[in-house]
Symmetry: D2
């Protein structure tokens, strides 16, 4: 057991950190400005993001998330963790390095389970950052925390599948670059519960795909990315667009969600670190009741508790990553569930304290605190609500004592 990053990781980390400092943070407000000045928040993309992507690609800080060396950087989860954390400090960071959800998860699915044709058509442009993608699983009409509830239908009709269903929280579907969805639905409603669902690729320009509306998150539209509610009405796609085959949906979801969850956690740690930085800076420059806020005991308690919570969450994330690398996602499922519970709440705690220390500035857009808070809050729901993860942890724990 030891706790130091390898030389390789430290080198990459230094490079990502420099890139963030040199290019990402300084352009956050330009990004906002370009977005706010567009005629439509969803039909255009702020040009700065594509400039930054080119720069990151050139510096070979690109696709770092993908463990498969054929397509990506070939880093282990443990190696990627500190890099991902660093990117997560900025809400525009992950996209700059082509490491943003849900594209990362979709690329993983394609890299691991896609056919050669699927890889050619979708994986390559995604890896190149030329297109984007969304994941259409969750449905408004059922409690999707229990994935067996998913009711959308995928029915075979000759050489095609016919898709029907209403999906929401298809994040990224608002982006004009978003070209394809991975759609989950039932092909085999009479099969055993975990064999009913399949996943299939749906080009977004297929007739019958209709974006009803973009969902806000605590008032944020997250444009141009956005979160779409999409109706799929008699959408026909070629049969070879199915991934792995009928009834494999759960299996793919399982493979997809492990890395997806841990990436979210890494990013949350970065967001929390930045909030703590902001907090520490702010309280040393504001004076109330005759002394800097930094000298208030309560503020110091916030800082100490924040540092403590961040450290613990990071260590647990790193251990989960290590286990995914060494014993596999399945053996690591309790650890993955644990960090998925820990990291969002930790980030919410730290950011909330930073907001409180900033007063009115904290809830506005003068800092990224409020936006990061809203984002973190959704992660107590996305990819499974806390309660489902806790059930899983408890079940595994109880099974040790039966």
């Amino acid at each position: 057991m030891h706790f130091d990053y390898s030389t390789k990781v430290n080198d990459l980390l230094g490079r990502v950190r420099s890139f963030m400092e040199d290019y990402v943070y300084p352009n956050e407000s330009l990004y906002e400005e370009q977005l706010n000045n567009q005629t439509s928040r969803f039909e255009q993309v702020p040009p700065i993001i594509e400039e930054l992507k080119q720069k990151a690609k050139k510096e070979e800080l690109w696709n770092l998330f993908l463990p498969e060396a054929t397509y990506g950087a070939g880093l282990t989860n443990l190696e990627y963790a500190p890099l991902c954390e660093e990117m997560g400090r900025s809400l525009i960071g992950p996209e700059v390095f082509n490491c943003n959800a849900p594209d990362t998860g979709n690329m993983e699915v394609l890299a691991r389970f896609g056919s050669d044709a699927q890889k050619e058509q979708w994986l390559i442009p995604l890896l190149n950052g030329e297109i984007r993608s969304c994941f259409s699983m969750t449905e408004p009409d059922v409690a999707s925390s229990d994935a067996t509830n998913i009711e959308a239908r995928i029915e075979r009709d000759g050489d095609e599948y016919v898709l029907n269903g209403r999906k929401w929280w298809s994040s990224g579907a608002g982006d004009p670059r978003c070209k394809v969805a991975i759609f989950m639905g039932k092909t085999n409603p009479d099969a055993p519960r975990h064999k009913q669902q399949s996943m299939i690729l749906v080009p977004l320009d297929t007739p019958g795909v209709k974006i009803n509306r973009m969902l806000p998150v605590f008032g944020y539209d997250h444009a141009p990315h956005g979160h779409a509610e999409i109706d799929f009405e008699n959408v026909r796609v070629p049969a070879d667009h199915i991934i792995l085959g009928e009834g494999r949906g759960f299996e793919i979801a399982q493979g997809r969600l492990g890395p997806g969850r841990i990436h979210h956690c890494m990013r949350l740690i970065g967001a929390a670190e930045r909030a703590l930085d902001d907090l520490c800076k702010r309280v040393q420059t504001r004076v109330a009741f005759h002394k800097p806020l930094a000298e208030q005991g309560v503020v110091r308690e916030w800082i100490a508790n924040s540092r403590i919570e961040i450290e613990q969450a990071r260590l647990l994330t790193l251990k989960a990553a290590y286990m995914m690398d060494t014993v596999g996602n399945k053996e690591a499922k309790s650890e993955i569930a644990m960090i998925k519970v820990v990291a969002p709440q930790m980030a919410l705690n730290v950011i909330d304290r930073a907001i409180q220390a900033h007063g009115g500035a904290g809830v506005s857009d003068d800092f990224t605190l409020a936006a990061q808070w809203a984002n973190s809050r959704t992660l107590r729901l996305a990819d499974g609500p806390d309660e489902v993860h806790r059930r899983q942890i408890a079940k595994l724990e109880l099974s040790k004592h039966q």
Copy 2:
């Protein structure tokens, strides 16, 4: 000691409740729709709001907040509490009854401390719901939680005062109906700390008043009301626009903030009650893992804890109101500070649980939960952050044992 509302209150409560059910809730989405379809979110007001105001006025559910019978309904704080709570269940509720902040606080100031001319010019149209007003106290450049930090200047020059300073969180200033600000600043920088500040009325069309920007709250613009950052540059107003006289700013703030704070708390209780209603309804209609969410023990714990927290917060609010009515705001200052700490956090807890139970729907705008959460969060800062109120409570407590 007894715990029942009087017949008078129960009657009023029944009428307010019916009005909410008949007119307010059913028009919330129309309000949003009108707002979203306006060419500008800030330069126009959704027509439905003025229709509802007329209806409420006609039913004599109007200015219920104002204890002075000459101008308002003449209810005590204790009598008003359950009515205010009811209005607070909807974000558009308070305005419908002409009981919305910051106008209520400003009307109280004018009713209690205004000259006859000031009443004529500003109080009457405010009471009639013809105009709106804002309160310009907080400043971006100093920790305004310590009001002695306020740096804006109000300088006498002949028959006029000249105002200079940057203010923010001037809520309501975005509304085209907003015609006047109560501005706080230093007239007497060399006087003892609590005698330096004054308050003065500033018509918003006075030259030199410039709205820099509208501040978002967790992504919400709160249009058309909004929260403005305003620059006051050599703004000249007639000397008789000062309220009470030079150096009386703190005294007025004290008088203004007591009722203002408790009104916020009453509304938060209403918001929490509605969130708990939403929660209870939702969990009885969604099934996961073979049973309704309502049968999950964890969900039941949320419900029980929410009911417990709401009850306690309400009782403390009512007691604070009772003390304000019987022994005065000054003697009730510990109780006021206590509810100001309790109510926002209680509302945040309850609403957060409701959000979690709603999944993705909870963070979007399908329910009022996310918007109410954001609103409640600001109330841990507005009118004094929690930490300042706790200091006050502790100081009073310690003084009993010296």
Copy 3:
């Protein structure tokens, strides 16, 4: 609605408070000393307690808990609340006023449901403070939080009932003055679930009653009172010792537990108030890092939060008492459940902060803090664990929305 105690209550409160200050607090350490110097902690009673009882009786501060004016003081629950709170500030307080559990609950049962003979034999000496009693319900072998699990048997045999079963947490059974138990067990195992159990009076000197051991509570033996594990082996009592009749056990338990629970809560509020007093005094006399602890912001936060939690718990307790008085225990069941959840946790919070402020002194017996903490902790379990009360609250809440 109003929040002042009546003149009658204020008068009684003043008298109880003076009695506590003049006689109870000054004799707490003498009580401990006498107890520690006895040859047996359980077979003798510190003489000071009987002296204090005589004094309280003489001052007519006696049996204040009993609403029935025939036997007790005839106070309502609401009137008794502040008096009971005051007594609860000292661990020996309640007994001094003949208001200590479980005797109070047992006296209520006898006063409301006992036959004339039962009243004559047991109620009168209990009211006179001549004997004590215990309540034998909970069993070590089943989860007694679900009272239908109780397995002890009460079988009719001619003019007698024969009792068999193991009971524990028969509090007070260690005391040499304890002469009778109210025993709960099944007379009708085949009846509907809530008609199976009965309650019967068992003189403790009946053959077959055997105290196995006294149970400690976090290291405290609570001598001479104590908490007994008792075996009942073929214990024969006359048939007329049954209370109300066969199958009425649940009905009696229901009647007994409402007041019992609220009395516990009142006492806990007193315990918390005293802890807060101790805290406020201590921190003004100890200096660390160049200033009194009272000037540390974190300590001030403890004080403020303690005051806030106490106020809210007291108001909820008073409201529950008011409802018991006005609409009855059954209608007040949600309120009773709520305070039963709130008060112990509140007391634990406040006392824990006081302990922390006292350092090592806090966990020792230099103050009553540690002992009160342990006592409060048992009240998250006794008379139903928190979780069962929350279930009840949630069930009632959900039923409003079905």
Copy 4:
């Protein structure tokens, strides 16, 4: 970075675990029984403990705590951590392996800073488990959380030092095997604050050393070990009993407290693990409301949260140990402070949940839960209260942003 224990550690861990299972757990109740049957709880030692010590010594599971290979096992802190955790599962575990506080800390002081004569006289018998020792630092009359407050005097008089002062929480001083104290006091009251104090060895049979009383901890006497209040009145010890020299007290304390704190944390993790085991077993065997407690969602949440908190605390402890081993105690001071805040609270949380799940059994002595709770609670105070550690963490954090 990796997260597996070495083969060496796994081997030792297996042996310690087997020893615990074979000899320690099965003898816990015998230990209690022997203690309770002694004529004096403090003047005798339950014989089983010495038997177990001989067995552990023979199996070379002895002095594992001491990194110095000359005297102890020569394990790093990181290697010792999982072993110490295992021992901490039983309250009698650490002593069995000669790894119990405060002897471990005292042995470290002597091994690192003692003279040859001091080692010969005290270290060797301590390492052999022949004698025990105590640490006399804390004083009842001052807030000892700020060690500069320590007021005891150590004055040179010829070839001797004369000691005066009242100390308390001299843990272990109740044990008849306890032969020596390390005493802290001021030799140089006029020196700079951190050079005023010295440490000196005091044989407990020196005239003038008087144990006033043994302090209980939440009702526990912790006999025969115990926590003594000791008066030192004109106690004369030879001048060569001073450790390192005059004015070095703080320096030694610093060196002593790092390892001492982390050992406490390791043991707390073990205590928490055992409580979680107890909890998981209990809830699978008790039925309430028609199903095992283990199927209640709230209970599952307790289990999940317990597992999450334990994992995080363990990782942070291991990282702190790693840093102590690699960069030294001084560089690791933030990490040491963090675990010292985290581990006791974590243990309290986990144990409290286990208590709640056990009902009345949880607060009694049927399980070790209540005793472990009380022990854990003192560790939020011992070796520095949480608040002092948080101050330290915040100070280091703020210094990064100055």
